[in-house]
């Protein structure tokens, strides 16, 4: 962790990862707005946003230049994954129980 004022070459990798992560968050939001039903929207939220979180965490780890911080960011990513996966399942189950079984094509047996 060297607090040098000038930007190191590695920093550009970190910044690129951060920007790419933001692009995935943008795509997740686009899916939330554009997809036709609650289930499809959950796909966009869980997958694209977790990809975004992974890239943002990786970018921050590169910028921080510290294994401790990298490990912490890894824990954050895993907790984010678990929260996203569990909440997506709970929302989908609730949607099915409350009668909104609509998806663009009909249910297959």
């Amino acid at each position: 962790m060297s607090p040098s004022a000038s930007t190191l070459p590695g920093d550009w990798i970190g910044i690129a990862l951060l920007l790419l992560g933001c692009a995935f968050y943008g795509a997740g939001t686009a899916g939330l707005l554009r997809f036709p039903d609650v289930y499809s929207r959950l796909h966009a939220l869980t997958k694209a946003d977790n990809q975004g979180l992974l890239l943002v965490c990786a970018g921050l780890a590169v910028l921080a230049r510290s294994w401790r911080v990298a490990a912490l960011l890894g824990v954050i990513w895993l907790l984010g994954l678990m929260a996203a996966a569990v909440s997506a399942h709970l929302i989908a189950r609730h949607a099915r129980h409350s009668g909104s079984r609509r998806t663009s094509s009909e249910e297959r047996p």
């Binding site: 995935f24 997958k47 297959r108």
Partner: protein, 180 residues
């Protein structure tokens, strides 16, 4: 080989010890990530307490994962979840919105407890699939797929989870059944 899905209501001492060991390892790693070696006696006591509590509260058989099988599953997960993120991002941004959402029922061939929990959670991060609901006492998983082809990841993930938990190879009919 451990026997498959029989609901165990009474767990033996050995099984509770296996639970305690698993939770202890996870909690110690978590402490190391959060605090390093700083205040390790507190961390040790807390991890022991957490392990004891979860061993006491456990209701299903523990399924220990052979540690050597973890890296290959972790790599599989990272690659597949990245594919999943890319796939859904592409579909969300594509002007024509190329999705064909549909539900499928998939009969799980995984024992109760950790393997099933892992399947249901991880499936939502695989390309094009979302675990919507468990039916039939947890034996049937209702999967929401963004495209018909996405169901392939369900079969693939189940096979990888069986391998992770060192369960015997999937019977062949399990591979063919749910596709499409």
């Amino acid at each position: 080989m451990p026997t498959e899905s029989e609901p165990t209501t009474t767990l033996g001492k050995r099984e509770r010890l296996v639970w305690a060991r698993q939770i202890f390892v996870v909690l110690v790693l978590m402490w190391l990530a959060l605090a390093g070696l700083e205040g390790w006696p507190v961390g040790l006591v807390t991890a022991l307490a957490g392990a004891a509590l979860s061993a006491w509260l456990a209701t299903v058989k523990p399924r220990p994962v052979p540690p050597l099988r973890v890296p290959s599953f972790a790599l599989f997960f990272v690659i597949e979840s990245m594919r999943g993120g890319l796939d859904v991002a592409w579909r969300a941004l594509h002007p024509a919105l190329p999705i064909e959402p549909q539900f499928h029922r998939f009969e799980l061939r995984l024992p109760e407890g950790q393997p099933r929990t892992l399947m249901v959670s991880v499936l939502s991060l695989m390309p094009g699939t979302l675990s919507a609901e468990l039916e039939g006492g947890g034996d049937v998983l209702v999967v929401h797929a963004l495209t018909p082809g996405a169901m392939a990841s369900v079969v693939l993930l189940q096979a990888r989870i069986r391998r992770l938990f060192a369960l015997p190879e999937d019977p062949p009919e399990a591979r063919a059944e749910p596709a499409r």
